[in-house]
């Protein structure tokens, strides 16, 4: 299934950071959803900024427009504020893209656990992530955020460090 680009992708002004504040907000919102949906489709969990600039997301060869490095940083910052992005290094050259936010993961896990009657059981996050459900494929990347998320769901999980395997109990 090929990726369906949104109409903005072919609108040249989309690739120029708009000075008008209201217009810019709408523009950034469109960029954020574009980045997230692209990453979800392509099963991308991390992004390298310099590589990204060359990727099709920020680079539309057909209309000869690409988003500048500064503008990409602005988009990433917007994603970070929304909770969809975490920087992996201080230099902000690589980031984690969470097209599903940790809270959403947490909810999903909780649902899966409840559905399968695994409440109050101890299991490793490996088990969790390698179930049949392809939805949970990204969990291995999000172990820590997931823990936080699970814990935040009213203390519904606890983590025990056991021989470098993180176990989780979902209540």
């Amino acid at each position: 299934m090929s990726f369906e680009w949104p109409w903005q992708y072919n609108f040249p002004p989309f690739f120029t950071l708009q000075p008008n504040v209201d217009t810019r907000q709408k523009q950034l919102a469109a960029w954020c959803s574009l980045v997230l949906s692209f990453c979800r489709q392509s099963k991308l969990f991390t992004l390298d900024v310099l590589e990204a600039q060359e990727s099709a997301v920020f680079n539309n060869n057909r209309i000869h427009r690409k988003l500048s490095v500064e503008a990409i940083q602005v988009v990433f910052e917007e994603l970070r504020k929304k909770g969809n992005l975490e920087w992996l290094d201080k230099n902000k050259s690589r980031c984690l893209i969470m097209w599903r936010r940790p809270e959403e993961w947490g909810k999903l896990i909780h649902q899966w656990v409840s559905k399968n009657g695994m409440v109050n059981l101890v299991f490793t996050l490996y088990e969790l992530s390698n179930g049949d459900d392809t939805e949970k494929e990204g969990i291995k990347y999000f172990m820590f955020p997931c823990y936080i998320a699970l814990y935040q769901q009213n203390g519904n999980a606890s983590l025990q460090n056991y021989n470098f395997t993180v176990k989780a109990t979902v209540r």
Binding site: W7, F11, P12, P13, F15, T16, Q18, N20, K26, Q27
Partner: protein, 404 residues
């Protein structure tokens, strides 16, 4: 500072106080006077100074001793000053704080401001010379001392004095005739070098009043041309005071006040007439540079300076003329008709852009017959309103309808 005499600070019978200002320090020429900060008082007859801390210490100088005076702008860490140039010290002068001084001028340093008003009042008093009309009971030494005081030899100094008196006579005659024509007192200090640009604005002002005055000023200019190459600092100073007395804002230093001079008011009215038709042709708006070119081309001889133009344009609103001076965010200044509606312009801009899909400033200018500068301003304004968005690339800056 050696012209000052001690005084008890009381005013005489016919003498009235005009203005006083605290926080003033005196300077003997360039050096600080060995006095503290005090209050400077201006009366109809004298200039007085009293020590703020010690009211007994009070000195004065008659206004007749003043040749002329000028403002010295404030600097970093320096207060604004008024420099007062004085006649030579008189032989029979009463004792004062200084026995002698190598300077023939003093400065008043306004540490607590107030110099503008003081200067204005001083100008008035020096113009009106009320001390000549109402001599006070206490004999005040005037600039013209008794013959017995002249102990200097009648040599070159005598010849100089004669020339000086002759110049004063000429100045007085010209002053009188000018005053009659202008309808307000005009003083002419020594004829001085006048540079062409100021002469133009002086000329223009005169032509508004009376033709004879134009002849007079032209004859002065010719007189000056003969002395070409002789510009001394003294004469430049005198020329400044000359212009001031003519009622024209000093071209060398800053604005004196925002309300504008007669000249600007007249000019603004003239502009109101001249610019009606061109503005309508150009869709109600013209950049100030275009106005400047248009007006000066029309005038031919007596050109306007950019400053005069801006000052005149600033007065449109207060004079209730149907024109307005408008400054955009980017700093571009335009003159537009009052009837000019911004919303209409933006709506039409949006239509144009939508028709063509996208436009650059140049394309838009061509479409409307506007200058590129104004076209860009209009597009930027539409963007600011949220009707357009921009596409900035190596190809240039284009504007699209805002589909976001």
């Amino acid at each position: 500072m050696d012209r000052f005499v001690w005084t008890n600070g009381l005013l005489e019978m016919n003498e009235t106080l005009v203005i006083q200002q605290r926080g003033v320090r005196l300077y003997d020429g360039e050096d600080k006077a060995k006095l503290d900060v005090g209050v400077v008082l201006l009366s109809t007859h004298r200039l007085l100074w009293r020590d703020q801390k010690n009211n007994e210490c009070c000195i004065c100088i008659p206004l007749s001793q003043v040749i002329f005076f000028e403002e010295q702008a404030a600097g970093i860490g320096k207060s604004a000053k008024i420099v007062v140039h004085l006649h030579p010290v008189l032989e029979n002068k009463e004792p004062g704080p200084y026995q002698q001084s190598k300077y023939s001028y003093i400065k008043l340093s306004f540490k607590e401001h107030g110099q503008i008003e003081f200067y204005r009042r001083l100008t008035e008093e020096m113009t009106q010379k009320r001390w000549e009309n109402t001599p006070v009971s206490q004999p005040i030494p005037t600039g013209v001392g008794p013959k017995a005081g002249r102990t200097r030899a009648v040599g070159i100094v005598g010849i100089e004095r004669k020339l000086e008196e002759k110049r004063k006579e000429t100045d007085k005659n010209i002053s009188e005739s000018l005053s009659r024509l202008v309808g307000r007192p005009v003083i002419m200090h020594n004829t001085a070098m006048i540079n062409v640009i100021s002469l133009d604005s002086a000329n223009h002002y005169l032509s508004l009043q009376a033709k004879e005055m134009v002849e007079v000023s032209k004859s002065i200019a010719n007189k000056i041309k003969d002395k070409q190459g002789d510009i001394t600092e003294d004469e430049t100073i005198r020329f400044k005071s000359y212009l001031l007395s003519m009622g024209i804002a000093n071209p060398v230093t800053r604005e004196t006040h925002g309300s504008g001079t007669q000249y600007h008011i007249q000019l603004a009215k003239q502009l109101g007439d001249i610019l009606q038709a061109p503005l309508e042709e150009r869709g109600g708006m013209m950049a100030l540079t275009e106005v400047y070119c248009l007006v000066n081309r029309a005038r031919g001889m007596e050109l306007l300076s950019p400053e005069d133009l801006v000052n005149a344009c600033k007065m449109f609103e207060s004079l209730k003329l149907p024109l307005r001076l408008r400054v955009f965010d980017s700093g571009v200044m335009v003159v537009q008709l009052q009837s000019h509606s911004e919303e209409e312009m933006i709506a039409s801009a949006l239509d144009n852009v939508s028709d063509k899909g996208s436009l650059t400033a140049e394309e838009f200018a061509k479409l409307l017959g506007l200058s590129v500068l104004l076209a860009k301003e209009r597009l930027l304004l539409a963007e600011k309103m949220g009707h357009l968005c921009r596409d900035d690339s190596v190809e240039g800056l284009r504007f699209y309808p805002n589909l976001f």
